[in-house]
Amino acid sequence: MLLRRVIPCLDVSDGRVVKGVRFVDLSDEGDPPELAARYAAEGADEICFLDIGAAPEGRGTMLSIVERTAREVFVPITVGGGVRTPAEMMAVLRAGADKVAVNSAAVADPTLLSRCARRFGRQCVVISIDARQDPARPGSWEVVVMGGRRPTGRDAIAWAQEAVALGAGEILLTSIDRDGTQGGFDLALLRAVGAAVDVPVIASGGAGTPADMVAALAEGGADAVLAASIFHRGIHSIRSVKAAIAAAGLPVRTLEDDR
């Protein structure tokens, strides 16, 4: 049986892990490979790096972070942020990433998804969707890009379906309304996207407690939950989140020490 995944997300800028509340007010949280190794040892099922640095020279820094992490960490690594071409995706995969998440660049040119899927296989192409509830239309969400700053007028559900049809093998779905609030995931958004596609959905944005993570999996139907601040600040551990998931009767990977 497929096990639910718990994924710590490390937002990286200028070689350091940072985490903003609603993508602003950055504060320094640590060395990315060091944090990744710590999370893997605590039972993280996957590590996600999001490159949120705007500077083009940051690309090389990100690649060296991935390389260093892949030497120490033996769980899957997903990298997102700033990939605009198949060649750039190749560089990230060569550095040791298993999957690459694309966001704004795929909205600007959806053929990026099909070109990358054809070249590397859909299993390593993740579509990262930032969605915001549409106040005028309850039960629908708009895709936003550029770190949540720019609305696109696209419907999030329709974009999820299009992205999967083009070649995305997984969806990293972030509620911009909830991101950084620690107020719980947008369960209606998760359910709506999960019902519309047949690829795995990773819930992101709003994790505050282990119970929120359980709700995203049990009620939202997500395959995986992703969180940043609650792990970085030590508010909850990977282990306590997984214990809560197991206690709710959902299958989850336990560490050797905990068996």
Binding site: L3, F74, V75, P76, D98, R122, Q123, C124, V199, R259
Partner: protein, 212 residues
């Protein structure tokens, strides 16, 4: 060859993706690892590792172009071991339903799309359910978690080669072992401590065989 000398591993590089993680994992486990882009690179290797993701037909075309499609079976005839990971496991079989590719045919059987699966690709951690004991699984609990990323899996003609099955929709073959051949549909190099143990077990089997 001293029995405690590092196992010499050649990773077949035919341009099908991520060699970094499998190389890092084998280095971590003390193997002497090189990357082989052509037949010559397999010389004297105790273990040939064939990684890979993606489709079978382009993978086979690249293996042929680089002379590896002939050199790998030849190396196996002279005592080398084979460890196939994901696509590298599927390539062991005769043909793939995915694109009709004719493959290495070292094991009999066909690669088919997973059936009954709720979501595809099958991405994430799932459990290895042992159907028979095998030294490759030494030290692992039953239902050990392993990381998968695929939509296809082989259906071996000879059920005796099957070591574990995994359930995603209908059960499929997730680990095969036969003589000096091991194939993992999952990624041991991405399966945490349990995955490293499987790789360590394979290296141990290779080292013991070489000492004979």
């Amino acid at each position: 060859m001293r029995p405690d000398a590092p196992v010499r591993v050649a990773i077949a590089d035919y341009g099908a993706g991520n060699l970094v993680s499998i190389r890092n994992a084998l280095v971590r486990l003390g193997a002497e690892v090189r990357v082989a882009t052509e037949a010559d690179g397999l010389r004297d290797a105790d273990l040939i590792v064939v990684p890979g993701v993606g489709a079978s037909a382009p993978a086979m075309a690249r293996l042929r172009r680089r002379g590896l499609a002939e050199a790998i079976p030849e190396a196996l005839r002279t005592g080398a071991w084979y460890l196939g990971v994901c696509l590298g496991m599927q390539l062991l079989f005769d043909r793939s339903e995915e694109d009709g590719a004719r493959m290495l045919g070292i094991l009999s059987g066909e690669v088919r799309r997973l059936t009954g699966a709720p979501r595809l690709p099958h991405i994430g951690w799932n459990q290895l359910e042992a159907v028979r004991p095998d030294p490759v699984l030494a030290g692992l609990p039953d239902h050990a978690p392993a990381y998968f990323v695929h939509s296809y899996a082989p259906i071996p003609e000879d059920p005796a080669v099957i070591v574990t099955r995994t359930v995603h929709g209908d059960p499929f073959t997730s680990l095969v072992a036969s003589g000096r051949i091991v194939g993992c549909q999952f990624h041991p190099e991405r399966s945490g401590a349990d995955g490293l143990r499987i790789l360590g077990n394979v290296l141990g089997l290779v080292a013991a065989d070489r000492g004979r």
